[in-house]
């Protein structure tokens, strides 16, 4: 057999073998399982000076836990600082975990992307809870945060939106300061705005509050106000989801 024929045959066998092996190993793993449901977590973070250091630490721990245990491929995370987020884009962060290449099958690449996302999210969370920044913030705009969350929830597409408010829920802005006496609006105030269609559309949004106590009468009035307000906005804030402390992020569900 001539040298050329020998070379040609060996080349074809070797190359076809390598390529076919690679293709075979990278082939499909059978029937595709159904795509799992994905979530959109919108987290409002109250970093105002009205909150104690412990409350902030609990909020950060809960947020880290949320990032670590609740995020999956395809999920979207929106972090909103509850003081200026409605006005500028500097104090909010939105990103999503890349979806799994094969729905229902978590490949190492998907896992790595998820890990990368979590790492970045933890860094952002750390930056948000930076003590040097926290001390300079003295207002909390819960209304603007809910309105912005409603907008993000509209863009959730196929994700289930969940709004988590890490706040004491005391709105403290120039228009409304709930910490003051008589600062909590009445139900009529809500009704007027509902009638005027000035409330955000929160239909289908699961709302949870972590960091708001209901021990005092004022705190209870604040809670009742937000329950009514959110009910008027189209969603339900259950009393069990209006908590001062949530130990496990797995409890953050409606």
């Amino acid at each position: 057999m001539g040298a050329m024929t020998w070379t040609r045959l060996a080349l074809s066998i070797a190359s076809s073998g390598l390529v076919s092996s690679a293709l075979a190993c990278g082939g499909s793993a059978g029937a595709k399982p159904p795509s799992p449901a994905t979530n959109q977590f919108i987290v409002g973070i109250d970093l105002s000076a009205s909150r104690s250091v412990e409350a902030l630490r609990d909020s950060r721990r809960l947020l880290d836990d949320l990032v670590e245990s609740r995020l999956h491929n395809g999920d979207e995370l929106v972090l909103l600082e509850m003081y200026g987020s409605s006005d500028t884009g500097d104090h909010q962060w939105i990103d999503s975990v890349p979806r799994a290449r094969t729905p229902g099958v978590l490949t190492p690449t998907d896992r790595r992307r998820l890990d990368d996302f979590k790492a970045v999210a933890h860094q952002i969370v750390g930056a948000m809870f930076d003590p040097n920044r926290v001390r300079r913030i003295d207002n909390t705009d819960v209304f603007a945060t809910i309105s912005r969350a409603a907008d993000y929830a509209k863009a959730a597409r196929d994700r289930r939106p969940t709004l988590i408010l890490l706040s004491d829920m005391e709105n403290s802005t120039g228009e409304m300061r709930m910490e003051r006496s008589g600062g909590i609006p009445s139900p009529e105030w809500i009704e007027v705005r509902r009638t005027a269609n000035r409330l955000p559309d929160m239909h289908g949004v699961c709302v949870l509050v972590a960091g708001a106590a209901s021990k005092t009468q004022r705190e209870a009035m604040i809670r009742d106000f937000w329950v009514r307000y959110l009910a008027a906005a189209g969603t339900t804030l259950a009393a069990t989801n209006y908590r001062a402390f949530v130990p496990d992020a797995m409890e953050l569900r409606c």
């Binding site: 040298a3 045959l9 092996s21 972090l79 500097d90 790595r112 952002i124």
Partner: protein, 591 residues
């Protein structure tokens, strides 16, 4: 008279009587009132039947015409040449011109004499003369002389032409004879070659031992199993080197990393899948490594095969008939062996040197990645606390860079290991090449002569035979050309002998007959007298032309009959020689 084709001349030219006397009577019949002149149109002669060019020539200067003739692109018309070549007209053209010129001079002199006599009132119109006028006798003498000269000129030219044609026929017959002799000699030489070939074939049959060798391991399965195994082992031994030497584009590297990570699973084929994906994704390294390995194996196998030929085939072991072929094979395989050794040395040296510096290459990439990571981190420090987007982008970039750095650190560790094992890897490569050489040695097959081949000298004899056949072909062509020329020459001579260029003597005589009447008419005209009124002109002009000489034909050349006979004999000999000689080149294949 026999023609070349065997028919009688009369059959070919039945309008012409053979007898010269009859010819004169039959060609021109002169009566008192009319004369009929038969045109000379020989059969097959294009020269005299070709259409005449009736184009009107532009009147121009002779100098311009001469210059036009000198210009190379203004070739004279071939039709005119053909018309002149070898025909009667060509022979008599100059003579006719001469005759016309002489008659013109005579007519001019007649007019001059008429004027001279008229000026003196001579001849007297009222005096009858019993004898011809002296001036008319003078003119009649000049006319007779001109006529006789014209006849002589035509006759001499025709004889000369016939003699020349006969001479050329002799030359062509000589050429034909020479071609015949040459063909006979070539036939003899070709027959000698054929005899020699038969003798050599008889010798080859006695010495037809088989020269060559069979594979030590003739199984094709054995060959291909080890060939593929060697290729795979060599590839996997060298592919990582090329992967480290040829850096990938960042995007491709990332895709490769993802693919590699996806391949990691608990399945038993995960390792193989990871390796295959890495190989396929490093396409450039894959092809370079594959080609290098294939060349190594090819060189190795060639070394083995050529070494087997050099070891197994010895001229001292072979009969004389195979010595030349064995030497040729050994020479070719020695060249292949040397070339393959050089190729193997080059590839192995390249691999050795590449592995020797591979750690530094990988370390350079680690250094570059470390610098890049440091830069990203320093940039991250400058991001404002509230710019969460920039912070996230920076964190992602840092994480990617860290991962790349991690990969390159792994590569550096791997490269360091490879570099530290450079010498053992060199010997591994060498061993694999040696394995390919052994495979080539064991499986090579070379048959120099299978016992059915012919004697080497026959090849040369066959070439000589083809050369002789080529010479024979040229000799046959030359002979046929000479035969054709000789046949044409004989035809021309016979045509010239039977032709009658002097048959036009009556027309010439008519031209001369008018000279004296011209004198009389001109004399009378100048004297304003009717020529019939001059009694001296009452007598008919006393003009007597030598017509008998013009009516004779042309004799046959002395040796023409013998020449024709010689031509016939030579032609027969030539035809017989041509029929005997194997003129086709394909005949050489039969020997």
């Amino acid at each position: 008279m026999e023609t070349n084709n065997g028919g009688s001349q009369r059959e070919l030219d039945h309008t012409r009587p053979r007898n010269p006397a009859d010819e004169a009577l039959s060609r021109t019949t002169a009566t008192n009132t009319t004369r009929r002149i038969e045109l000379e149109v020989p059969l097959g002669s294009f020269a005299e039947v070709a259409p005449v060019d009736f184009r009107v020539r532009k009147t121009g200067s002779r100098l311009r015409d001469a210059l036009k003739r000198l210009l190379p692109w203004n070739k004279p018309a071939s039709v005119d040449d053909a018309t002149d070549a070898g025909g009667i007209h060509e022979i008599t053209k100059a003579t006719d011109s001469w005759f016309d010129r002489e008659v013109a001079i005579l007519e001019r002199d007649a007019r001059s004499l008429a004027a001279d006599w008229a000026g003196k009132g001579l001849p007297r119109h009222d005096v009858a003369r019993s004898a011809p006028l002296e001036v008319e006798q003078f003119l009649a003498g000049r006319c007779a002389e001109t006529f006789r000269q014209w006849v002589d000129r035509v006759r001499v030219k025709m004889r000369d032409r016939i003699a020349r044609e006969a001479q050329s026929i002799g030359g062509y017959v000589g050429e034909l004879r020479a071609s015949t002799t040459r063909i006979e000699r070539l036939e003899s030489e070709i027959a000698g070659i054929d005899r020699r070939v038969q003798e050599l074939r008889a010798e080859t049959k006695e010495d037809a031992a088989r020269v060559g060798f069979e594979p030590i391991f003739p199984s094709w399965l054995f060959f291909w199993f080890f060939a593929i195994a060697l290729t795979i082992v060599e590839f996997f031994a060298n592919f990582p080197v090329f992967r480290l030497l040829l850096p990938m584009k960042p995007a491709l590297a990332k895709a490769a990393e993802d693919a590699a990570q996806d391949a990691v699973s608990a399945d038993w084929w995960a390792g193989l899948a990871l390796q295959m994906k890495e190989i396929v994704l490093h396409a450039d390294a894959l092809f370079v490594a594959l080609i290098a390995v294939l060349f190594l194996i090819l060189f190795g196998k060639t070394i083995g095969g050529s070494g087997r030929v050099l070891v197994a085939l010895k001229t001292a072991d072979q009969p004389l008939a195979a010595t030349t072929t064995v030497r040729s094979h050994r020479r070719q395989h020695l060249a292949a062996l040397i070339g393959s050794l050089i190729g193997v040395s080059a590839v192995l040296t390249f691999l050795y040197l590449s592995r020797g510096s591979i750690a530094s290459v990988a370390a350079a990439r680690v250094s570059a990645d470390s610098l890049e990571l440091r830069r990203l981190k320093s940039e991250a420090q400058l991001i404002p606390p509230g710019d969460l987007g920039a912070m996230a982008r920076s964190a992602a970039a840092i994480r990617d860079e860290m991962r790349t750095l991690e990969i390159h650190r792994d590569d550096r560790a791997y490269a360091t290991t490879v570099q530290n094992n450079n010498t053992p890897l060199f010997f591994l490569n060498l061993g694999l090449v040696f394995g390919a050489a052994v495979l080539g040695f064991l499986t090579y097959r070379q048959i120099v002569r299978d016992g059915k081949t012919e004697h080497p000298a026959i090849v040369q004899l066959r070439a000589d035979r083809r050369s002789l056949q080529a010479h024979a072909q040229s000799a046959v062509r030359a002979g046929r050309a000479a035969e054709s020329q000789a046949r044409a020459g004989i035809g021309r001579v016979e045509h010239l002998m039977t032709a009658s260029p002097l048959a036009e003597w009556v027309a010439k005589a008519d031209r001369l007959d008018v000279v004296i009447p011209l004198f009389r008419g001109e004399n009378a005209r100048l004297r304003h007298i009717d020529p019939a009124s001059i009694l001296a002109f009452a007598e008919k002009p006393a003009l007597s032309l030598p017509t008998l000489e013009a009516e004779r034909g042309f004799p046959e050349p002395t040796d023409f009959a013998r020449l024709k006979e010689e031509f016939d004999v030579t032609r027969r000999d030539f035809g017989a020689a041509v029929a005997r000689i194997p003129i086709n080149s394909s005949d050489a294949n039969s020997i």
